[in-house]
Symmetry: C2
Subunit: 712 residues, 2 copies
C-alpha cells in the first residue's frame, strides 16, 4: 500500500520529485528539545484580530447585504431565463414557420429534398455560430455546466467557470443550439447561468469587464462566494423548472456539505424570487399580466389529480419502469463515455469540434426529415395542441404525428407526450422516435455547444413511457387501463433518473413542474429504482464527466476500505512554511515558484530553533502570482492571526499524522476545507493534505484504487 502510494505521488505530480525542502520549512530535527512558554496566556493569534471583527450592528448589516444579494441573484437569473425563453420562442418559431411553409409548398409539387436542404442548412448555420463561439471564445461554456458547478461547489477551482464572458457565451450558445434543432434543452445551462450571476454580484466585480465596483468587498472569500454560487444554482433550477424547493434541494444534494439554516433560507429566497421574476415577466410578455401562470422555462402542464390518481396495482409496474430507465440510462452513459473518450483523443481542435457540431445538426435534421417523410401516422388536427402541424401526405384536417414529436422544440414535445389524449401517437411512431432520439441525444451530449441533457432525457423517457402504457393496455386486452400521459411522466422520470442519478431533488423538481404532489411517491420509487439499477453498471452522467476530466472531486464519504490509510500516508510533502512575519520578497519568491505542488502555506512560529504552527491556518495561493502586489494587505496579515483575515483560510486544523483517511475526509467534507496541515506529536508540520490527496482514492473492483488527477 505504501509503495503504491509513493508511486501515485510521483505519477501525479512528478515535477516536485527532485525539489529541495525549503530551509524555512525544514524546522528542527525531530526529537530535539522543544521550548514552549509556561502555561498562562500566550497572546494568541485569535485575540489579536478581535478588534477588527464586526460588531453586532456590522454583522446585521452584512446579513442584510447577503439577503439583498440573494434577491438580486434571483431577479437577474429570472430575467436571463426570460430572455432565453423569449428569444428561443421567437427565433425557433420563425425557423419552423419558414421550414413548414417550404415543406407545405414542396409537398404538393414534389422536390421535398429542397426542404430537407433548407432545414439542414438552417440548423447547421445556427449550430455553426453557437459552436464556434464556445469553441473559440470560451470552451468552459460547453455542455450543461452542471459538472463544472458541482466541482466549483465541491471546492475545485475551474478557470473562467464563473466569469461574465462565460455567461454571455453560455446564453448565446444555448439559444443557438436550441434554435439549431439539436437534441438539447435550455434548462441545464440555467444552473450555470445562475451560478455566474451569483458569483459576479456577490463579489461586486467582473474580471471579464476588468471592473471593480468596490461593493460587497466583505464577501470576497472562497466560502462566501461558494455560498452565493449555491444560491445561484438553486435560482437557476428554480427558473428552469418553476421548482424553488427543488432548486434548494438540488443545491444541497449536489453541492453543499455543511447545512446551515441561514444559508438555506437565503438559497430558498433566491429561488423563490427567481421563479417569481420569470413568472411575472413572462405573464407580462404573454399579455395576461396578473396571471402568474408560467413559473418555469418548462412547465409540464397540469396533471389533473381527480382523473389521474394511481392505484396500488400500478406500483410494481412503475418499479419495472424504473428498472428499464436505469438500464437505458446506463446504456446512454456507457455510449457517451466511449464517445467522450474518442472526443478527448481525436477531436480536441476547436475547428474539428465546430465541424462535429455542424455535422450532428445536419444529421439530426436529416434523420428527423426521413422519419417524418416515411411516417404514415396521421392524426386529426382538431383538438390537438401541436404548434407547427405538418400535413405532408396526410389527408386534409390531419397532421403527421411523427412531425409533432420532431418538428418542435423538445420542451413542447415533452408536454405533448404528457398531455395529448390517448391515441395521438401510433406505437410504431413512438418506438422509432425513442430509438432515433436516444442515439441523437447521446451523440449530442458532450459536443462543444452550450446545452443541457435534462429535456432530451425526459423526451426519450416520455416517448418510451407512453409506448409502455399503450402496450400495457394492449397486451392485457385493456384489462389494465394505463393512461399514456401518466406513463409518459413515469418513463420521463425513469429515463432522467437513470442518466443523472439524482433522487430527492429530482422528485421534488418533477412534483413542482407538474404542480402535483400526488405522484410524489411513484416518482420517488421510479427514481430510486433507476438509480439503484443504473449504479450497478456505471455512474451518473455528471460524475462520469467529472471523472473523465480528472478533477479532484470529493464524494460524500471516504471509500469504505480506506481506514487503513493514515494522514501521514496520503499527505503531500515537503511543505513550504511561512513565518508569522515574512519579507514580501520571500513570499513573492514562493508564490512565483510554480513547482511547489500545493497552494497552501502553513504559518509557523519559530521559538529558537523550533518550528511551532502557532496559527494553524494556511495561506491560500492567489490564483495569479501578480495578485501578490495587489494583495499586499492580505499578505501582511499573515502575521496577525488566523480568524477573519482574508488571506488566511480559517478552517485549517492540524490533525495528527496517525488520523485515518475517513476521519480526515470527514473533516474536509464537513468544514469545506481545501487543505489541512498535518503535524506530528510534537506539533511539527510534517505535511499538507489537499483535496487532491483525498480525491485520489476510490473504491474500485479490486479494492482501493488510486486515480491520476489533473493539475488544477
Amino acid at each position: 500500500m505504501k509503495d503504491t502510494h509513493r508511486r501515485g505521488v510521483g505519477g501525479w505530480g512528478g515535477r516536485e520529485a527532485g525539489k529541495e525542502l525549503p530551509p524555512r520549512a525544514r524546522g528542527p530535527a525531530r526529537g530535539m528539545p522543544l521550548l514552549v512558554a509556561a502555561a498562562g496566556k500566550t497572546p494568541g493569534a485569535g485575540r489579536a484580530v478581535s478588534g477588527v471583527l464586526p460588531s453586532p450592528q456590522a454583522f446585521r448589516t452584512v446579513e442584510m447585504k447577503r439577503w439583498v444579494i440573494c434577491a438580486m441573484i434571483g431577479i437577474l437569473t429570472g430575467l436571463v431565463a426570460c430572455f432565453i425563453d423569449i428569444v428561443v420562442e421567437n427565433v425557433a418559431g420563425l425557423k419552423y414557420k419558414v421550414v413548414k411553409d417550404n415543406i407545405d409548398k414542396f409537398t404538393e409539387r414534389g422536390g421535398l429534398s429542397f426542404s430537407l436542404l433548407l432545414w439542414a442548412t438552417l440548423n447547421s448555420a445556427f449550430v455553426l455560430v453557437g459552436s464556434a463561439i464556445v469553441a473559440f471564445v470560451e470552451p468552459v461554456a460547453a455542455g450543461s455546466g452542471i459538472p463544472q458547478i458541482k466541482c466549483f461547489l465541491n471546492g475545485v477551482k475551474i478557470p473562467h467557470v464563473v466569469r461574465l464572458k462565460t455567461l454571455v457565451i453560455k446564453v448565446s450558445g444555448v439559444i443557438l443550439s436550441v434554435v439549431g434543432g439539436l437534441a438539447v434543452g435550455k434548462e441545464g445551462p440555467m444552473i450555470h447561468s445562475g451560478s455566474v450571476i451569483a458569483a459576479g454580484i456577490s463579489q461586486g466585480r467582473s474580471t471579464s469587464l476588468k471592473r471593480d465596483f468596490k461593493i460587497f468587498e466583505y464577501f470576497r472569500r472562497d466560502t462566501e462566494k461558494r455560498d452565493f454560487v449555491s444560491a445561484g444554482a438553486a435560482a437557476g433550477v428554480s427558473a428552469a423548472f418553476g421548482a424553488p424547493v427543488g432548486g434548494v434541494l438540488f443545491s444541497l444534494e449536489e453541492g453543499a456539505s455543511f447545512w446551515n439554516q441561514f444559508l438555506t433560507w437565503r438559497i430558498f429566497f433566491a429561488s423563490m424570487i427567481s421563479t417569481f421574476t420569470l413568472n411575472f415577466v413572462l405573464s407580462i410578455y404573454h399579455g395576461n399580466i396578473w396571471d402568474l401562470s408560467s413559473p418555469g422555462l418548462i412547465n409540464f402542464g397540469r396533471f389533473d389529480t381527480e382523473t389521474m390518481v394511481y392505484t396500488i396495482h400500478e406500483i410494481p409496474i412503475f418499479i419495472a419502469m424504473g428498472v428499464v430507465g436505469g438500464i437505458l440510462g446506463a446504456v446512454f452513459n456507457a455510449l457517451n463515455y466511449w464517445l467522450t473518450m474518442f472526443r478527448i483523443r481525436y477531436i480536441h481542435r476547436p475547428c474539428l469540434q465546430v465541424i462535429e457540431a455542424m455535422l450532428v445538426a445536419a444529421v439530426t435534421a436529416t434523420v428527423a426529415f426521413v422519419l417524418i417523410y416515411s411516417s404514415r401516422d396521421c392524426q386529426p388536427l382538431q383538438g390537438s395542441s401541436v404548434s407547427y402541424p405538418l400535413q405532408l401526405f396526410c389527408a386534409d384536417g390531419e397532421y403527421n404525428s411523427m412531425a409533432a414529436a420532431f418538428f418542435n422544440t423538445p420542451e413542447k414535445s415533452v408536454v405533448s407526450l404528457f398531455h395529448d389524449p390517448p391515441g395521438s401517437y401510433n406505437p410504431m411512431t413512438l418506438g422509432l422516435f425513442t430509438l432515433v432520439y436516444f442515439f441523437l441525444a447521446c451523440w449530442t451530449y458532450g459536443l462543444t455547444v452550450s446545452a443541457g441533457v435534462f429535456i432530451p432525457s425526459l423526451l426519450i423517457g416520455a416517448a418510451w413511457g407512453r409506448l409502455f402504457g399503450i402496450s400495457l393496455s394492449y397486451l392485457t386486452g385493456a384489462a389494465i387501463w394505463a393512461d399514456p400521459g401518466k406513463y409518459a411522466l413515469m418513463g420521463a422520470a425513469a429515463q432522467l433518473g437513470g442518466i443523472v442519478r439524482m433522487t430527492l431533488s429530482l422528485t421534488v423538481i418533477m412534483m413542482e413542474a407538474t404542480s402535483n404532489v400526488t405522484y410524489g411517491f411513484p416518482i420517488m420509487l421510479v427514481l430510486m429504482t433507476a438509480k439503484i439499477v443504473g449504479d450497478i453498471f456505471i455512474e451518473g452522467l455528471y460524475d462520469m464527466h467529472i471523472q473523465l476530466q480528472s478533477v479532484p472531486f470529493l464524494h460524500w464519504e471516504a471509500p469504505v476500505t480506506s481506514h487503513s490509510l493514515t494522514a501521514r500516508e496520503v499527505m503531500s510533502t515537503p511543505v513550504t512554511c511561512l513565518r508569522r512575519r515574512e519579507k514580501v520578497g520571500v513570499i513573492v519568491d514562493i508564490l512565483s515558484n510554480t513547482a511547489s505542488n500545493h497552494n497552501g502555506f502553513p504559518v509557523v512560529e519559530f521559538a529558537g530553533d523550533t518550528q511551532v504552527p502557532r496559527a494553524p491556518g494556511a495561506v491560500d495561493r492567489p490564483s495569479h502570482t501578480c495578485a501578490v502586489l495587489e494583495g499586499f494587505g492580505a499578505l501582511m496579515c499573515v502575521g496577525s492571526g488566523l480568524d477573519g483575515c482574508g488571506g488566511v483560510s480559517e478552517e485549517a486544523l492540524p490533525p495528527l499524522q496517525d488520523a485515518s483517511l475517513p476521519r480526515v475526509f470527514k473533516l474536509f467534507r464537513a468544514l469545506g476545507l481545501r487543505h489541512l496541515v498535518v503535524v506530528d506529536n510534537c506539533n511539527q508540520v510534517v505535511g499538507l493534505v489537499t483535496t487532491k490527496d483525498l480525491a485520489r482514492y476510490r473504491l474500485g473492483k479490486g479494492g482501493l484504487e488510486e486515480l491520476f488527477l489533473a493539475q488544477t
Copy 2:
C-alpha cells in the same frame, strides 16, 4: 470577560471547585523535554483496528440494513398515525353525537345547563385520564415533543425521551386530549412518536420492555441512533401532514448539522413509506381501497388552482398578514412564557398539573358552550360540510355557525375555514372565535398533556385570516375580492409561522398539505415576514421552551461577538485522563465519581514522564455507572485505538488552546461532537470543551451573556 467566565464556571458546576487534579491527568510540567520517536511509522492506533473494520461486502450489508430499518420506521410510524386517527375519529364522533343529541333534546324543553354539564364532564374525564398518565407515568411525554426531539438531534440526552413507554403514553395521551376537546392537535406528537419508533427499531432493543433482540447491534452508537431518529421525525411529519418532502426538510432544518446525501435519501425513503402506509391503511378503512386519497392525518383539502390563483396586487396584502401573524405569534409566545414561568414555580406537583389540565378542559367546554349559546349566526344547512350541525335556536334547515367552529375536532374546523363557501361565517363569529381560541390555545400549551400546537395555531390563523379577507372585501367596497378560503390559508400560515418560526420546511409542508404548489411563493413570503417580525420581540415557541428548560442547546452559529473568546477560556478543567491501557478498577472509580464534571475522558499516552494524547479520542461516560460491568468489552478497547471502536467517540479532535469560540463551535456543529480535547502547543491535554461550555454563551441585549444550564 475573563472574570465573568470564571464566575460562570463556578456558578454552573460548583461541585468540582475543590476537586484535586487526578495525578494521571497532571502530566509533566510544561517546558520539560519531550521525547518522540523519530519519523518513520509509529504503530498508530488507527491501524491497529483496521483488521476488525467492515469489508466492502460487510459495508453493503450494513447499508442494506439501514434501508430496511428506515422502511420499518416508515411503516410503523404510518400505522401508529392510523391508529391515532381511527381511534380519535370514532371516540370523538361518539362524544359529539352524545352531546349533540343531549343539546337537541334540551333545546326544545329548556335546561341546556345540563348539556353544558355533560359536555364539560365528558371533556374533563378524558383529560383527567390523559393528564394523569402523563404526569404520573411519564412526564417526558408531555407537550408536542418537538423541543425534546430538537434537543435529542442536537446531541443533548434527555432521559426516557425515546423509550417505548414514552411512546405508549404519548399515543394514549394525545388521543385522550384531542377527544377531551382541548385546543390541541394530534400532529406534533407524531414527530415524537416517529422518533421513538426509530430509536427502538434501530437499536434492536427496548429498555422499557427490558428486551434485547440482539439485532442491529452495529447501530448502537450515538451518531447512528441520531441519524435514525431524524428519519423517524421526518416520517412523523410525513404521516401527520402527508408531506414527505416537508418531513425531510423539517428533520434537516431542526435537527441535522452534517448534510449527507445517503442519510437524506434514507430519511426521504422513510417519509415516503410512512405517508404511503397511512394512505393505504386509511383508504382500506374508509372502504375505497385503491383510492390513496388520505396522505396525512390532516389534509387541508384541494385548493383548486384554476379558480384560486393569486394576483400580484395581493402580495403586499399577504406581507401585511405576515406582519400580523408575527405580532400575534410573539404575543402568544410571550403569554406562554409567563405562564410557563408560573407553572415552573407553582404547579410542579403531578396532582396539581392534572387538576390544571381538567380545569382547562372544563373551561374550554364552558366558554365554547356560552359562545355557541349566545351566537345568533345561523347558516343554511344545505350544501355545507359541517359534521355535527347544531341547530340550537336557529330555524329548521339551518345550523349555528359558531358551533361549526367549536363543536368539532380542530382539524375539521381548519378545513371548514379553508373551504366553506364565502358567507359561511359571520365576521362577528370569526372575531369572537379568534379571540377566545387564542387564549385557550395559549393556556393549553404547556399543560401536562400530550398534544401539539400546530393545529390550534393554524385554526387561530385561519379564523382571523378569513376575517381579514371578508373585511378587505367589505372595506374596499368589494373592489378587492378576497376569497375568504385563500385568506384563511395565508392567515393560518402567518399565525403558525409567527409561533414556531420555521420557514423552509413549513412552506413545503403547507404546499404538500394543500396539494398545491401555486401558493408556494405567497406562503413563503408570509412565513418569512412572520418570522422576521416575530424575532424582533421574542424567539420561537420551541426554542423558548428549550431555553426555559436550561438545556445546553447549540444553535446554528456562534454568537457574533464571541470571536474574542478562545478555547482555553471556555473549556472545563480539570480533565480526567485515561491511559491507553488502564486497570478496570481505575475506570470503575472514575465513572462512579459523579463529581467529575464532564462525561468524556481523553486517552493519553505516557512516554516516560510526558503525557501525549496519542489517540485524541475521548471515551464517553456510559449513562449509568452500572453499565461499566456490562460494558467491559467496550472499555477494554480503550487501549485499541480511536476508530470504529464502540466506546470511543471517533470525532474528537484536539484544537489548540488559542482557537476562537466560533471555530470550536463550527467544529461541534459540523461534526456533531459532544466534547473536544483542548491541547496546548506541546500537545498536552489542558482541558475539555463540552457542548455545555459552548451553549452557555448567547448574544443578549448587552452583548455576550452567559446562561445557567441544567446538569443533564
